[in-house]
Subunit: 161 residues, 4 copies
């Protein structure tokens, strides 16, 4: 069972550059998380974007959608910033017959305390067990695209209904 | 969707006591992992045993099975040592209508580098998405009870067929 | 032997706020580092500023100097941003009879990989062993004020002569 | 200023082997700690023993003493188990003209929460700042050989007088 990881940026991959006091999207932490998780799975990781999700455009989302439509994998885990994860999920929901799980983190994977490892673990399990469709793996839950929102005040994801 | 966590011991909860140079099963790390994972779920944690899984007896497994049969929850994540996780899964497979996911770790949760957080993330996702039955969440995969073994030489879990 | 810790901000205490995608100086990590280091010492921690060291003004440095001059402790560890640590050390060098060790980090203490813990360990040892004066504890070395510079290209501190 | 690190084993380097449920002295963590601490120093690391310090014999201590006496370095950091660190320090105290700092940890360096990084930071600072002699860097303090004991009940080191 092959899993293709697509990275788009977001908090999960943020790193701090002391020389410029800048905090930017760094190299993807997915490989590191899978290695530490002793995940014995068939996979690869492709970098699509390195952006805060607030900076992702409609064009970026179309590009991501077209990439998946024309790609030969059946299962995808997509790392993504949390601010527009819900919007990207809805765009991808138009793709039939594939299983796509978006995940990310509210705290960078490079932090001592982070939700990144737990969330990627959830996404890896979900992409192997759910029916084709688009899902979010975050806040300890597996949400279906179209039935989830980010509650910014509580800093978590919730079902709409 | 309520999840009951049952802890039985194993490497995942091991701690080192310098005063005695002893390495023993300590307090369960499940609560800590769920908190760090920002898991917004309805759950509780019950401690059943604090044993290396090689020390779990047939009687212990019966006790665990009877507890779940007579308990009112529908979904369980069971933390367990890896050496006999497969055997315990087969005993629990006789329970109908409930979803049980066993998980654990090859490296203690208190270590800097550990598969524990990733594995518990997988188990939490699986217990919410799979059909009733008994599963193992480890080595980056979700295995069904009866179709999995621990490959001790490679230090990982594999499908039998 | 009493040690007073003065915190002024800098990378060592940086934290990331997902809700605003902002990276700011958070609560001091000194207490946490001393606790984890099992430091059995007589100390307290006072917060002077919460600033990037590039934002510290001449007025701030005078305020810090006057605080120490009028304070009754004899030994100080001062956490500080790295960009102007050298300048602050030179201002404090005018204070006679007290031992002051500045330290900080090139990577935040909240990161999995950070020089913060090692550097605070160095500072705690130095403040107990050196003669009165002003020192920097960073880059694996103990530098005397006036004979150290930050090499920004190499991202480390060096002796001038 | 060259520093030679000698490793002898102890809790600081303990690792857990799941395959055998054994907890043993693993590879030295000193290199890893110095790299993470961004220590820009001239050093090397030599492995003398890989033992719990309760298993170190009088012969081992003589061997260590003779090695240092006949070696050309002037400054040593010696990683050591805590149970007999005091005894080894007293044996080494007979060596004139060299600076030797023993350090170790009450919790393994591979643990998420450990005093190892802080202690090695202290030792690296002390070995550069103190006069020739033998010292212990642990419990947040720099102790002189002959005036320190391990308080096993409180799990810390203390001055005798």
């Amino acid at each position: 069972m092959f899993i293709r990881f697509l990275t788009t940026g977001g908090t999960i991959d943020k790193i701090y550059f002391d020389q410029t006091s800048q905090f930017e999207v760094g190299e993807s932490q997915v490989n590191h998380i899978l290695t530490e998780g002793l995940a014995n799975i068939d996979y690869d990781v492709l970098s699509m974007f390195r952006k805060d999700s607030l900076d992702l455009t409609d064009e970026d989302r179309q590009k991501l959608k077209e990439f998946i439509e024309n790609d030969d994998a059946e299962r995808y885990v997509i790392s993504h910033g949390t601010d527009t994860m819900v919007e990207t999920a809805e765009v991808l929901a138009a793709i039939p017959g594939k299983t796509m799980v978006l995940t990310g983190a509210l705290s960078p994977a490079r932090f001592k305390t982070t939700d990144a490892v737990f969330n990627v673990g959830m996404a890896v399990a979900a992409v192997q067990t759910v029916n084709p469709g688009v899902y979010l793996a975050i806040s300890g839950q597996i949400f279906e695209a179209g039935n989830v929102r980010k509650n910014r005040d509580a800093n978590r994801f919730e079902r709409i209904s």
